[in-house]
């Protein structure tokens, strides 16, 4: 029986950030690998066209790495990244006033293969996406960070520069308005 190989410790985001500051490019690539999909979900949920998500993710990372010295660790790197993503998306919308609906196809995920269930899931997502478009930016981002990303109010507040109480209020306003919209 061979002795067990020592398990290499997975570097934290902070360690990767420090490595990147030292000029370590693979550290930057690893940060992208870790957070790109979550960022893509956030951007799509916030109204980015699926076709644009790739470019928006790239742009968000570029801005984030350039501003990384201003990141003080007040929240998780991923949460901070999403707030930058929100700015990138806002700028992109300003440049092109195209419709911001997420074009959900027929292959919307559902755990079972029941066509009716899949159609209902698709409709719910479409309505939610449309409802999110109607929300003020703060409510939309708080809702997504909470409901989609599963973050705590403390974390959301730190990322968005507000208080946990205010974040909670934004979330509840968002839920109320989304329910009204969906109904």
């Amino acid at each position: 029986m061979t002795p067990a190989e020592p398990v290499a410790a997975v570097p934290t985001d902070a360690a990767l950030i420090a490595a990147w500051h030292g000029g370590d490019e693979p550290a930057a690539a690893e940060l992208v690998r870790r957070h790109a999909r979550a960022l893509a979900r956030f951007l799509a949920g916030a109204g980015a066209l699926v076709a644009d998500v790739d470019d928006l993710v790239q742009e968000t990372f570029i801005r984030a790495f350039r501003a990384l010295r201003r990141f003080r660790g007040q929240c998780q790197f991923r949460t901070w990244l999403m707030t930058i993503g929100g700015n990138v998306l806002k700028d992109a919308h300003r440049r092109s006033r195209r419709a911001r609906m997420v074009p959900l196809g027929d292959d919307v995920r559902a755990t079972d293969g029941d066509p009716h269930e899949r159609a209902v899931a698709s409709e719910a997502e479409r309505r939610l996406a449309a409802g999110l478009e109607q929300l003020p930016r703060m409510q939309r981002e708080v809702f997504l960070l909470r409901a989609q990303q599963g973050l705590e109010y403390d974390e959301i507040a730190a990322a968005l520069g507000t208080t946990p109480g205010a974040a909670r209020v934004h979330y509840h306003h968002a839920v109320r308005r989304l329910k009204e919209h969906i109904q």
Binding site: R33, F42, A48, V50, V102, R109, V175
Partner: protein, 151 residues
Amino acid sequence: MNDDATLHDAKLQEVARRLGARAAERLDVERTAQAVVERLRTEPRAEVRVLGGIRPAWLRIAATLVIAVGAGVVVRSLWRHHPIGTALIAAGGAGAGAGADLNDLSLDQLRQVLEAVDQPGGEHEAVSAQDLSLDDLSTLELRALLESLEG
């Protein structure tokens, strides 16, 4: 879930968690990582600079100054075309400074000033000095006029 059924909080969160999943699945993470690293390598990491190296902070200050100067020019222009400003400028005449006394004004000049003061604000109706008579003056205006004539 029925088509139009009310979504409860849990259901709303469930739908929210699915939102954007397709976009995330379509994303080629490795290609994105390489593209980001390449851009970071080829595009300088220096601070954002615009217009040939002017820092945005200085640009903002310069823009503020331009706006302030521009606003000043506009206000000055409006003032010169406003009846009160026009009358004062006319009354001041050549060589009359800002401190010119009403006592130094002639009857016609005073009439112009009073005409201008009598104009309702914002309305630039063209009323010539000939249209005015002493009957149109208020008690205060008449008193000011008499005092200036006595002086």
